[in-house]
Structure formats: C-alpha cells, structure tokens
C-alpha cells in the first residue's frame, strides 16, 4: 500500500505540466476552440513529448507505461482543459494492446505511438444512452474482411481522427472493429461540443472494417473503463484548478469592504469543495489502480469511482461559478470553462445516476476498498 509517485512519474508530471502551462495557455486554447475544437498541431506536440505512446509497449514504439502514468498525464491535461482527446489515445492503446490480433497491433500501435494516427472510440448510439450492450450497428462478413453499417454519435474529434474503434453486431454478438476514416462508406459530420472540443456524427455505410475481437462487449467494457479512469484523472485536474482560482478570487475580491473569503458561509463552501476534491482524487487513484484487476472487480471499482467523481464534479463546478458571482458566468473568465468541462465530463462514459445503478447492482455483502 503506497501512494507515492516515483521519480519518473514526477518527471512525467512536470514535463506535461510545463507543456500545458507554456504551450497550451488559455489564449491558445480559446483559439483552438474558435477554430473548431481540435488542433492536429497540438496533438502532434503531445506526440513529441512521447505521450501518445505512453501506454504502448516499447516494442511497438511506445514507453510501455501503465495506468498510473496515464493518470498523471490526464490530470495535467485536465488542468489545462486540453481539447485534443488524449483519453481516446489511452483507450485505443489499451484496446488494441489487449484485444487485437498481432497483425492489427503491428499495423496500428506504432502509428498511435508516433502520433501519426489518432484512433478514437465510436460507440455511442442514439438508443443506447449509457448502456454498452445496446448496439444496432451491423457487421457483415465481406470478401476480405468485414463491412460495417452504423450510425455512431458524439465521436470525439470524429471528423479529424484517422480511424475508429467500432462495436457492431456480428452474428448476434457484439464484436469490435477498426474502421479507417478514409475508407469508402464513411461519412463524418463534425461540430463543436459544449466544452469547446470537437465531435462528429459518424455514418458507416458498408464500410470496410478490420476485426479487433469477436468478444466485443468484453473489449468495449475494458475500453470504457480505461476511459473512466482517464476521465476521473482529467476531472481531478480540472477541479484542482477550479478550486484554486476560486480561492484566489475569494481572497482578492472585496464586498461590503472586506475580502469575500472572510464570510464563514463561503468559507465552509470552500471546505466542502476541498472535501469533494480530495474524495475525487482518492477515487481517481482507486480507478487507475484497479484498471488491471479482473473484469468483475474492475467494473465494480470503476463504477464507484465514476459515481464519486460525478458527485464531486457537479458540486465543485457549480460552486466555483457560484462563489465567483457574476464574473463566474462570463465567457471571458476561465472558471465558466472549468464548469462546462466538468459538466461534459460528468456525462462522459456514463453519468452519475447511471453509475449509481452500476454500483447498486454490483453490490456485494462485503464493504470497502478491497471488497
């Protein structure tokens, strides 16, 4: 039992933070939002730092690191509200490494590691909401592989990514496929999202696809859990900053002749925000540390984590705005962006009520971290 970070992990954190603070400040972020919510150049900078290969084995051109390193990086990217979907890179790395045949790995992992290819998960369907097993996409075997017909929504950077990981029904069972965006039958319709990033509606019309695994639900659940852990860490980064700017504001802003940080009711709100942040940070650690556990244990743990994070995100985001007063609801000041980011993260990979259901249905007689 040990929650210290190694020196290497601290270096990784420092390098990422440095890039975020110097290379991805609020002004650059705003210009990327304005330009559509995704910058291939910025994504390339993540690659230059080696981050795109973070969780890819060294033989496939990556750094061969694990969930804790992923967490460290995501937390820092969260602090800068980086728009480029690094979460997706962690998902693609994990899904391909863990579930794809050797040929698919060899073809794609080095390209992910180098940053040449951005691969994103395209799983959301209209009727499914947060239920992973609901899938109307169809896969048919074609002469040299498979052909997919599907409509997938809210695909992160969907009109910018190089390829998609797509769940679809093959012979009544969910399988997972890889589809290149440049393939025939693929159309994308991109737009900005509420947090300033980018997504797309992706339509596949008999699009050629490569099989990742026929045990698609297992792999998809794994993908979502990687996503949850990364999202938890990202949210901790956002909340940490949201609390920090709120504290700074309260110590600066005067009303009725005194700093508003002198009002006890507001001070207690800060204490409650700190509580939510530290509970969230604890559960973010928990999520990443359980990511390699057996599936059932992992799913239970990740649901617990996302539930706690959801509660924390909503409270911290809303209160950060509230404690700022009027300036909190302006576009100009950063706190509203933290709030919107947290709002979107709460609804990513299952919202709070959804994960309450997961926790509730997976509950056992025992209790605690190790149960």
């Amino acid at each position: 039992m040990d929650f210290d970070f190694t020196d290497d992990q601290e270096s990784l954190r420092d390098a990422t933070r440095k890039w975020v603070e110097k290379g991805y400040d609020f002004a650059r972020r705003a210009s990327i939002v304005k330009a559509g919510g995704f910058s291939r150049e910025a994504y390339g900078e993540l690659a230059s730092l080696g981050l795109t290969g973070l969780c890819i084995s060294e033989e496939d051109g990556g750094l061969g690191m694990g969930p804790v390193e992923g967490m460290v990086v995501m937390e820092e990217l969260g602090r800068g509200m980086v728009l480029e979907p690094f979460v997706q890179t962690l998902i693609a790395s994990g899904v391909l490494s863990g579930h794809a045949p050797q040929a698919v790995k060899a073809a794609w992992l080095p390209k992910i590691a180098s940053g040449e290819s951005l691969i994103v998960l395209a799983y959301q369907e209209r009727a499914a909401r947060y239920q992973l097993e609901k899938c109307e996409a169809k896969a048919a075997s074609a002469q040299d592989g498979w052909a997919l017909t599907a409509i997938k929504s809210i695909v992160p950077a969907g009109d910018q990514a190089n390829a998609f990981i797509v769940p679809a029904m093959a012979d009544g069972q969910m399988a997972l496929f890889l589809v290149e965006r440049s393939a025939t039958g693929v159309t994308t319709h991109g737009y900005g999202t509420q947090d300033g990033a980018r997504a797309a509606e992706v339509t596949l019309d008999n699009a050629p696809a490569v099989l990742i695994t026929l045990d698609g639900l297992t792999a998809l659940e794994h993908a979502i859990d990687i996503g949850i852990a990364a999202t938890c860490a990202e949210a901790v980064g956002v909340m940490d900053r949201a609390l920090a700017v709120t504290v700074e504001y309260m110590n600066t802003r005067k009303q009725f002749g005194v700093a508003i940080s002198s009002f006890q009711a507001l001070r207690h709100r800060i204490a409650d925000m700190k509580m939510q942040l530290e509970l969230a940070r604890s559960m973010s650690y928990y999520a990443s540390l359980k990511l390699n556990a057996p599936a059932e244990e992992r799913r239970r743990a990740l649901a617990r984590a996302k539930y706690q994070l959801g509660v924390s995100m909503r409270f911290v985001g809303q209160q950060a705005v509230q404690l700022h007063g009027g300036i909190g609801v302006t576009d100009e000041y950063i706190v509203s962006h933290y709030f919107k980011k947290l709002t979107q993260l709460e609804m990513t990979f299952g919202d709070t009520l959804h994960h309450l259901g997961e926790v509730s249905s997976r509950m056992q007689d025992t209790a605690g971290v190790f149960a």
Binding site: R129, I154, A199, E201, R253, G325, G326, V329, D331
Partner: protein, 393 residues
Amino acid sequence: MDLAFTPEEQAFRETIRAWVQANLPADISHKVHNALRLSRDDMQRWARILGKKGWLGHGWPKEFGGPGWNAVQKHLFEEECALAGAPRVVPFGPVMVAPVIMAFGTPGQQQRFLPGIASGDVWWSQGYSEPGAGSDLASVKCKAERVGDKYIVNGQKTWTTLGQYGEWIFCLVRTSNEGKPQTGISFLLIDMKSPGVTVRPIKLLDGECEVNEVWFDNVEVPVGNLIGEENKGWTYAKHLLSHERTNIADVNRSKRELERLKRIAKTEGVYDDLRFRDEIAKLEVDVVALEMLVLRVLSAEKSGKNSLDIAGLLKIKGSEIQQRYSELMMLAAGPFSLPFIEEAMEAGWQGDFPGGVVANAPLASTYFNLRKTTIYGGSNEVQRNIVSQFVLG
C-alpha cells in the same frame, strides 16, 4: 381556508386564457416552449400586443392606465401567460422604473415616460450594478455632477440585461460622497442615445450576450430627468426592490418547464427509468411546495391580514428549482445534449442534429445560462442572510 380559486377568479383566468390564446403569436410561443432564441423583435412584438390591450403594465393601478388587478389576478395573468408560452415581459420598464416614476416622479415625468413604457414602444434598461459591487448595491461609484441644468455623468454600469437593445436606462448615480454610502445616491433617467454612452455586450458562458457593460463618458443629462430629490435615490431603489415579491419565485414558468422536462424524459427514454423518474418526482414536489408558498403569500396580500415576509425563501427556492429542471433536462438527453450547434437554437433550423432530436440542442446552454439565477437579484447567499436576520433578529 380554501385551495380553489373563487368563481370570480376562475372566470378571470378564463378571460385571460382566451385572450392569450387569441393574441400570442404562435411563432413566439413555439420558441418559448422549446427554449429557442428570442429576438429583440419577438420580445417587443409581444410587449406591444400586451401594451395595446393595456396589460403590459399589468401591475399598474388604474389611475395610471393599468388594469388595477389585485395580487391574485396578477398571479393568474402571469400564470396564463407563462403556461401559454409567452415570453417573460422585459421588466425594466413596466415593472421596475414605472412604479418609481409613479411614486416619486413629477406629473410631467409621468406624462413624459409612462405612455412609452405602457405601450411597449420604448425599451428600458437598468443601471444598478457596477463592476466589483456585486450584491453590495450601495457602493455606487458612477458619478453625476450637477452643472447648471444638467448632470454630467461619468462611470460604468454592468450586468445590464439586454442593454444592447436599450433606449433609456434608469441609473443609480453618486451625487454626494458625504455620510453613509446610501445617502449620496440619486436616481437618474438617461437617454441611451446621448453622446458618451457606450454599450458593450458581455459574452456569457452559454455563448450568448444577455448582459452588457454600459459606460458613461461626460454624458449630459437634463436635471429634469432626476427622479425625486437629489441624494434620495437609495430610498427609491429600495421601493423598487421591495416591489413585486411573489413573481420572484417564477413558479409559473417552472410549472411549464417541469411539463417540458417530462416530455423530454419520455423522448429520451428515461421517464420509465425509476432512478431518473424519482428525480423528476422530487422536483414535482418542490414545485408544488413552492407554488403553495406563493399562494400563501398571495392570499395574505389579498386579505391584508397576515404579512408573510418570506420573499427571500421564494427567491432561493425558485432559483434552485430553475437550475434543477434545466439540469435534469440536460441529463435526460445525456450525451445528446453535448453538441454545441448554435444554429440549432434558432427556430426553423433544418440541419441534422446528432441523434436527430433538435429539441436537445438548447438543453446544455439553458443549464449553463440558469446558473445566474442563484447569483443575480441578490445572490442566494445574501437571501439567506436576509432570511436568517428575519428569524434570528
């Protein structure tokens, strides 16, 4: 004690309902029912329709051309308008400055300003808040110096709602630095077309420009635009703030939006999800309890018997309910509330919305926008100060 409205009140309601049904433009109510963008024209069109009928100033006494309704009648009118999907009346003219002009203005000022307010022709704005003041309204810095028969106004106002459309603005200005902050404030009406007035819209978190900064740079204002006495403006401002207590809860709109929430939940397939449905059920009880609170206040006003000084509670609960229904609407759509497609919030947009349900387009924006409700009009923290002062002494 009787929960039912009297037959007279019921008949009154029917009259209003019929008139609103006949006169509220369908394109406008469509926008309101779906939280689509309302233009200046939409708002003013409805204001002029009400004005023509004599109901824009529906709270006005008869002597000033109002209908002379009692508290219950006003409530019924507001409820019928809200449920039918009428836009909220922009309050700065008919609800805010007009009562001050009636109470403290000269007959000349009344004749000059009230007709344009009553008809909906003149768009008024409010100039109370200043940068850095927040809920501390008395810390007015915007200065008016008397020079001959004019005031020279210099300073800045902010959070001026819809000020980009404003033609006139009523302002609290500082005319003296002596005594307590409250004592040197005056109440001034300013033509926004005067040289030296600059309006800059503030973009809010939902991307919309609902509020503005207003600068005054040596703006000349005739002394005839001063309401009442110099340095007594705080008294008039308090009169204004104490006016209109029940509608602060905005419960009628919340009733309409709760019904909309149920429709959205059905479309998104979560109305039969016990967990989600329970959240709606809690909100339903909140809305009923708030409405009962409002009705109690109305009844007390009608009978003049008991005074219920619980305006703070109405503001707190009303705003929390507004935030909650917008939150639940967004959560109902979940991932399908995440696309931010501004055009999709315009009526009649023909594009493809992800997932196909364009009704989801404004949900997150509305949720974001309504964070303001616990901040403005005296933040809920300030309201709790007031309530506790009342209870604890």
